[in-house]
């Protein structure tokens, strides 16, 4: 057995936290090895140790059988290790070639100038050798996410990487792009490269990896052959108990329409239309779900709905009134609660304590801010009741929201928004980063509100969440609702096809799906203009 990388007894401590606890990992050359685990299981930390970003508290790193000590990524790169981070390390206004060669530019005239022709040739050679489809002269900001990822991979290869670490590479990709990525990985291993692939998605690990190592709470809880295992076993390894994903949901008793959007269009900062001609309504006691791969316009749609951006065209109604032009504050005051997708940017003021954060959105309400004067004692009571009811830990209203863990931050926001006695709740990824117990609790509360006749708009990147909670489910693709389905009568595979942009009413679905995705990927270099 030819081991490319061997991590031996790696322990990494941060103040107060053990992120990796005596982890062993051996990766065979020329294979794809998946590192599987839930968020916070210590996968990324472990790989950052291998990449020289962190120094392990104890343990050894062996590359090609020799013990190595990496003080910085530079050392790891020199040892033939490359890492493709979840957030791409690319400079947006620079070209593909400039990004790939950054830090290792070929020069001429004794170093006085970058040899741009040589750099371009090197990039073209590399992408031809591995069959990559990239435009060396395009700017990063103008190419698709899938292409950006290929640029990241090329960047590592350009630096002579033999071992490639990919951190959650599929999170931002369409299913079609995911397939393309897996083909790329196959090509790379065929040419002798070794791939370590971090993921929390079971299916992808099974599909792409030769071997799978599962991490839980910073520990290696098992390494298995991909062929010799199944989803149930892996899921149990990941979470440590049997997973119950089914939500007990009584049938909906819907009432009047609470909110409605018609022919809504939203443009982003660059004037690209990211939501196009979307219409829907949501009724009392109904959960309206919106599914889709991240970045297909869901965020912009709900920001328009909640009053954080103004739509380019179309009309929004709430409780029978046209609120298209009304402000965020008016919408809050008329009974719209919103759990934002970015809790640290939007949902909480990180430097404020929980009392001050309990006030966010209610500072002008008659209960907490009568006559423009803030009733701090009442606000404190409010904060304490949220903390108690939603089990926010530590239960101290004077701690800053910054000091809370992500899950507790989320619980506080959910508690604050649910306690507004809203007519409509817009919830974006309400359980992101929350522990399993709290997920169940938040789901229960959501369904309670639904029972009380509150209308709910839910977006989530977790398919099982939107599918399990929604009464009606819209699938969004490239800014449009591609279909609205009954989630109970639709399989995960069917939803996957819809999310990939395959229209349900085409005669030859396979053909259509192929061509749509194909157009998308070949046009990508110039995507900025025609959009």
């Amino acid at each position: 057995m030819d081991t490319a990388v061997h991590l031996d007894g790696i322990t990494k401590r941060f103040p107060g936290v053990v992120a990796n606890d005596d982890v062993d990992l051996a990766v065979e050359r020329g294979t794809v090895h998946a590192l599987l685990g839930e968020n916070g299981a210590g996968k990324t930390t472990l790989m950052n140790v291998l990449y020289g970003l962190y120094e392990p508290t104890s343990g050894r790193v062996l590359v090609d059988g020799a013990e190595r000590r990496f003080d910085s990524p530079r050392d790891a790169i020199d040892a033939g290790i490359g890492m493709i981070h979840q957030h791409f390390m690319l400079v947006d206004p620079m070209t593909v070639t400039e990004n790939i060669t950054l830090g290792n530019e070929p020069t001429k005239w004794g170093g006085l100038a970058v040899d741009r022709a040589a750099a371009r040739d090197a990039v073209v050679d590399l992408s031809e050798r591995y069959g990559f489809d990239v435009d060396p002269d395009a700017r990063i900001e103008d190419v698709s996410v899938g292409e950006q990822q290929r640029v990241e991979i090329l960047k590592a290869l350009y630096r002579g990487a033999d071992v490639l670490i990919l951190d959650e590479p599929t999170a931002v990709l369409t299913p079609q792009e995911v397939e393309e990525l897996f083909e790329v990985l196959e090509e790379l291993t065929a040419q002798g490269k070794t791939i370590i692939f971090i993921t929390h998605k079971l299916g992808e690990a099974m599909r792409a990896a030769d071997e799978i190592t599962v991490l839980r709470d910073g520990r290696n809880v098992g390494t298995v052959e991909a062929d010799g295992t199944n989803r149930e076993d892996l899921a149990e390894l990941m979470v440590g108990r049997e997973v119950l994903l089914d939500v007990d949901r009584p049938p909906a008793e819907t009432g009047d329409v609470v909110a409605a959007a018609s022919n809504l269009a939203v443009e982003d900062d660059r004037g690209v239309r990211v939501v196009d001609d979307v219409s829907f309504d949501v009724r009392e006691g109904e959960v309206f779900g919106i599914a889709g791969v991240d970045g297909n316009g869901q965020s912009e749609l709900i920001e328009a709905l909640t009053g954080l951006t103004s739509p380019e065209a179309g009309r929004i109604e709430f409780l029978g009134e046209d609120i298209t032009g009304s402000s965020r504050r008016q919408r809050i005051e008329s009974g719209m609660a919103y759990i934002p997708q970015d809790r640290q940017e939007r949902g909480l003021v990180m430097n404020f304590d929980l009392v001050e954060n309990a006030l966010l959105g209610s500072q002008h309400s008659p209960e907490l801010g009568p006559n423009g004067r803030i009733d701090w004692p009442a606000t404190r009571d409010h904060a304490e009741s949220i903390i108690e009811e939603y089990d926010v830990r530590p239960p101290n209203p004077d701690s800053t929201s910054e000091s809370l863990s992500g899950g507790n931050q989320q619980k506080f926001i959910v508690g604050r928004e649910f306690s507004r006695e809203p007519e409509l709740v817009v919830a974006a990824h309400p359980t992101r980063g929350v522990d399993v117990g709290s997920i169940e609790f938040i789901h229960e509360r959501l369904l309670e509100l639904r029972k009380e006749g509150v209308a709910i708009v839910l977006i989530s990147s977790k398919l099982e969440e939107v599918q399990g909670l929604s009464d009606r489910l819209a699938v969004m693709y490239e800014g449009e609702f591609i279909d609205v389905v009954d989630p109970a009568g639709t399989t995960e595979e069917e939803l996957g096809l819809l999310m990939a942009g395959e229209r349900p009413d085409e005669d030859a679905p396979d053909q259509a799906g192929q061509s749509a995705a194909h157009t998308e990927s070949t046009d990508a270099p110039n995507g900025g203009e025609h959009a």
């Binding site: 401590r13 936290v17 939007r346 959105g361 803030i374 830990r393 701690s399 809370l404």
Partner: protein, 410 residues
């Protein structure tokens, strides 16, 4: 759940320390600036010439300037020499309070904008505009009333005029930032130059006092100026104005901490995206805070005209820039502004004492101002130094509250 709990307690200790830490850092910055200033005085003393008898000797070397004397004059002189007998409130001490009064307003002006996340460097210009407007409108109104009644009517009127015109001038960069995305740092600096230019034009032309060689307006009658209470008035200081300043400190504190508007301002100042989410109208808050900030600057101008000069003259001293220092030193906290303004009142008033008592150029205080800002801007430096100093006891710090690693291992 124990791990986050633990992080929490650690962080809490840090946060709890932050107020104390800020005071410590401000003090350290001040001390360090004075030390650097002392070195500067010594170096300058080597570069100039004086007779051997005038020189002082440190480390066996002669210097023409003595930093001890300089700082003695700067601080004790500013307080009217309280330890040498014969102290009178009407001496240099009232000059100090006079300067403090103006710095309270310019400091609050900068602090309010800062809390809204806006860097108002234009307090100087807002003060100039407010002062000019006060001088002209009060002069016009003073022909309508007179005597004690006049004072009761004209002084509040003058302050109001200063606030309105300063506020309007502050609204310009506010509108430019809110609706044209123009960087307020640059627009306010430009508006300072413009304010100086326009007032110079007016005061050297249409509104020039024909009986004066200087570029100034016709002096206001005495009854149109701040009345002197308790203090003799020899130093153009009015306790009424100072009291007004103290009230402003309290009012701004209340506004920021106990009103919905203050909450909007603070939220958009530290996290604009969250403020927007919480229903705060970003553009309106920017315009409102800069207008209010400008109004405070304008009041400083009104005070300058109605308490100190009695007219408007070109070449207004840099109270606005000092306000930036005051605010930064105070951590942009209104209550802190009270103390910082007093400190800078001492520095400014002491400057003239230094000028009389020594040959050291008065621009020294300008350098100190810059140094203080520089040092306050780098808390990390003091934290590092602090860590070095306490490093001998580092083991104690690490084990304080239990061994984090060992427990979390379980």
């Amino acid at each position: 759940m124990r791990v986050p709990d633990r992080i929490q307690t650690v962080l809490e200790r840090l946060v709890g320390a932050s107020a104390t830490e800020r005071i410590l850092i401000s003090t350290a910055a001040l001390v360090l600036s004075i030390l650097v200033g002392a070195v500067l005085v010594l170096v300058a003393g080597r570069m100039t010439t004086c007779t051997a008898s005038e020189a002082v000797y440190y480390f066996g070397t002669g210097f023409c300037y003595d930093p001890v004397v300089v700082f003695d004059r700067l601080f004790l002189g500013a307080l009217g020499d309280p330890f040498s007998g014969g102290w009178s409130p009407d001496g240099q001490f009232s000059v100090t309070l006079r300067e403090t009064t103006l710095l309270l307003f310019t400091g609050l002006s900068v602090a309010l904008a800062f809390r809204a996340g806006i860097f108002n460097i234009g307090t100087q210009g807002q003060m100039v505009v407010g002062g000019m407007a006060t001088a002209l409108l009060v002069l016009w109104a003073s022909s309508l009333v007179s005597g004690v009644v006049g004072t009761f009517l004209l002084v509040p009127f003058g302050v109001l005029v200063g606030a309105v015109f300063g506020g309007l001038y502050g609204a310009i960069p506010g509108l430019l930032k809110a609706y044209a995305d123009a960087n307020e740092v640059i627009t306010t600096i430009m508006l300072n130059f413009i304010a100086t230019g326009i007032t110079l034009y007016l005061v050297s032309g249409a509104f020039k006092d024909p009986n004066s060689a200087a570029n100034q307006t016709v002096p206001l009658p005495d009854y149109a100026q701040f009345p002197t209470v308790l203090f003799g008035g020899r130093q153009d200081f009015s306790l009424v104005a100072l009291a007004f300043g103290v009230v402003a400190v309290g009012a701004l504190y209340y506004l920021l901490e106990h009103t919905a508007f203050g909450y909007d301002v603070r939220t958009s100042g530290i996290q604009p995206d969250a403020a927007e989410y919480g229903g705060v109208d970003a553009a309106r808050t920017i315009v409102a805070s800069l207008t209010l900030s400008g109004a405070l600057g304008g009041v400083a101008g009104a005070m300058y005209v109605m308490m100190i000069l009695g007219s408007f003259q070109s070449g207004v001293p840099s109270y606005g820039f000092d306000g930036i220092t005051v605010s930064i030193l105070a951590g942009n906290n209104p209550l802190g502004v009270g103390f910082a303004a007093l400190l800078f009142g001492v520095l400014k008033s002491g400057t003239t004492v230094v000028q009389f008592a020594t040959d050291v150029p008065p621009q020294l205080v300008g350098v100190l101002r810059g140094l203080i800002i520089l040092f306050v801007a780098m808390p990390e430096f003091f934290r590092l130094v602090g860590k070095r100093v306490t490093d001998t006891g580092s083991k104690v710090v690490a084990t304080d509250g239990g061994t984090p690693g060992g427990e979390a291992d379980e």
